[in-house]
């Protein structure tokens, strides 16, 4: 057991773990994560199976990566604990009686002899140290006085505080991973939807897209109302970067789209032989509409908002934006299909109607309407407060570690033969220059004493 603790308390282990975690993280950015097996096969060939088995394709949530993080967490805990008690002792009940040797090994040190008694020197020291904001401790034993003067003692704990903050962040990550959830909810205006795992509902009152003068999107705004026990509680307009929080849930403007499957299409029918003939029909996808005069039934089977054709002659929608709307329609005469093909809203002249028989009819996609829906991400993340708390603690720790360097000066005043011998030494691992200048000033004020 002891050897286990010892190996976990080693900084070497921490560094080895850090290096492994770093390399793993790098790998995860070069192997695309969470794609379909087929994509991995086309990318890596036979290696794909091995990568999937070793969880390299879901690396950051793989068993081995999480285990590494947990090991790292344990390592930090053990390292901090094993050093902490020593540090607390050093900070709050330090040993004053040091041997002369221990002081004289320090980098900054001096030994002087004065012909006055030690009380006089002590008075000078007290005044000088307090003017420099040092905290003074002293202990007398026989003819010796031991003095320990320190400032910015909290700096000793900087690194430990950073580590505590990191542990809290890691804990927050675990809590988020286990207890958090997020789900996208799609709403049309006026629609009410239950929020999973919550005892309230959400209603979208209004949705609007704001545009810049150049046509690009400026913002999406959804007016949301929380409904609890059939009563509206809060109404708030949310937008990107301005979510709504309620009872531990947060609702984000995630994206938006059009409900193209339920579009209402307006189609103009003309006759080539008769320019005066014009008829407008309104229809939904899949519905059949009769053109009585012609004894023809037509129906729209597909609607594509952003029509493109690839090299393989496959038709699909490049985006959900209505950039190149196209409808596929069929015309039937009794039980016989007489024509079918694509018509385009942007290009009324280029209709691609293939007909078995010659047809006199010409179709134009005049207008299309679909309800816009707003996609709201509902999130519950109980870990998030740990993250903020941990972050604040990390920053406090970093500040103390780098900008609050502890300075420590020790002295032994020894009275003998009517004079006093002063042995002094100082240490400040993180700010040796400041310590040296303090130390020099102290020593010169001692020398001036008589």
């Amino acid at each position: 057991m002891k050897s286990v603790i010892r190996s976990f308390s080693s900084v070497k282990l921490a560094i080895v773990l850090l290096i492994i975690i770093t390399i793993a993280s790098v790998l995860g950015t070069f192997i695309p994560q969470q794609r379909s097996p087929a994509e991995y096969v086309s990318r890596y060939g036979q290696m794909a199976n091995i990568l999937i088995k070793l969880e390299f394709t879901t690396l950051y949530r793989s068993h081995w990566f999480i285990s590494l993080l947990i090991l790292f967490g344990i390592n930090i805990i053990v390292c901090t604990l094993t050093r902490f008690s020593q540090k607390v002792k050093r900070a709050f009940s330090p040993q004053l009686k040091k041997k002369e040797k221990e002081i004289l090994v320090l980098k900054t040190k001096e030994k002087v002899r004065k012909k006055c008694d030690s009380t006089k020197i002590k008075d000078v020291l007290k005044k000088e140290f307090s003017s420099k904001h040092y905290h003074l401790r002293e202990e007398e034993k026989e003819n010796r006085t031991y003095i320990l003067a320190r400032k910015k003692i909290l700096g000793l704990f900087g690194a430990d505080i950073v580590h505590i903050g990191i542990l809290i962040i890691l804990a927050g990550g675990i809590v988020s991973g286990l207890g958090g959830f997020r789900k996208n909810l799609s709403f049309s205006e006026g629609e009410i939807s239950a929020v999973p795992k919550a005892n309230f509902k959400l209603r979208l009152d209004k949705f609007e897209t704001e545009y810049y003068p150049n046509g690009s999107v400026r913002d999406w705004k959804s007016t949301l109302t929380i409904i609890e026990n059939e009563n509206p509680k809060i109404t708030k307009i949310i937008e990107v970067n301005k979510p709504l929080s309620y009872k531990g849930f947060v609702f984000y403007q995630s994206s938006c789209g059009w409900d193209w499957k339920n579009s209402i299409l307006e189609i103009l029918v003309r006759k080539r032989s008769d320019p005066a003939f014009i008829k407008e029909i309104r229809t939904k996808l899949g519905e059949k509409v009769s053109l009585e005069e012609e004894n023809i039934q037509i129906s729209v089977l597909h609607f594509i908002p952003d029509f493109v054709v690839n090299e393989k002659n496959e038709m699909f929608s490049r985006s959900l934006q209505p950039n190149n709307p196209a409808a596929f329609l069929e015309g039937w005469h009794e039980n016989e299909k007489i024509f079918s093909g694509w018509i385009f809203a942007r290009f009324p002249d280029i209709s691609r109607i293939h007909s078995e028989k010659e047809t006199d009819l010409h179709f134009e996609l005049k207008d299309f309407k679909a309800n816009q829906f707003s996609v709201i991400q509902a999130t519950k993340d109980p870990g998030v407060n740990f993250i903020w708390l941990g972050s604040v603690i990390v920053m406090i720790g970093l500040f103390l570690a780098f900008y609050w360097p502890t300075r420590e000066i020790r002295m032994i005043l020894e009275e003998s033969n009517g004079g006093t011998e002063i042995i002094a030494g100082g240490i400040a691992a993180k700010n040796p220059e400041a310590l040296q200048s303090d130390f020099k000033e102290m020593m010169s004020s001692i020398r001036r004493t008589n």
Binding site: A14, G28, N241, S391, V394, M395, L398, F402
Partner: protein, 272 residues
Amino acid sequence: MNESVLFLTTFFLYIISTFFYFVFILAKKDNLARIGFKFALAGLLTHTVALFLRTFESGHAPFTNMYESLSFLAWGSILAYILIERKYNSRNAGPYFMLIIIALMALASSPLMPKEAMPLVPALQSYWLWLHVSVTLIGEAFFAVAFIISIMYLVADARERQGKIEKLGLSSDKLDFISYKCIAVGFPLFTLGGLIFGMIWAYKAWGRYWSWDPKETWSLITWFVFAIYLHTRIVMGWKGRRSAFIAIIGFLAALFTYFGVNYLLAGLHSYT
């Protein structure tokens, strides 16, 4: 005066500064370095005005596309360098550091970088844009100074091993120390701006504070490398060459986070 004229003026001042720094290295005359420093300072001034104008003209933070953020990084790096030179008298690093600035400015002015200010996409409309990007880039600027100083350390160290002593230059010990000090400033800034502010903003905009998006992951990788630097140095007592190598790797990781991720790895942070 408009922003692009000021930008060119700044570029010009930096070039003159670089020139003086190099002549200083060759002629070994201190006052030439002082002239170089003054031109860098003048450049910083016009650069600051240019950034203000850019903000004023575009109505948003001056780091929303590659041109702007390169310019801001150059500004932050000059600022970091000027502070370090004043504090540690590191003027020998001047010429090499100015080369980085020239590279950043040249890249920013290249025709590949679209310069017109575009309206902000919804995700970027937040005051966290200011906090997250500016603090991160200034942290990275200090890593850049540490990078140059570390390379100089390796050169000085190799020379000292051959028994040569730099007359005018900085001793390898001092370079090692300055490099550590740069990281001591850069690391807390990078932690705050890159990771913590990044998490807060991600939570506000996307609903999750951490997504293992390539840019996030690479920021963390950069942070890990500097954490390794600090632990090996403070706890295990590493100094000198090994520390210099880690500092160099750390800056390269930061550079990859900044550039490489945008062009090589797709993700949530693809704003170029």
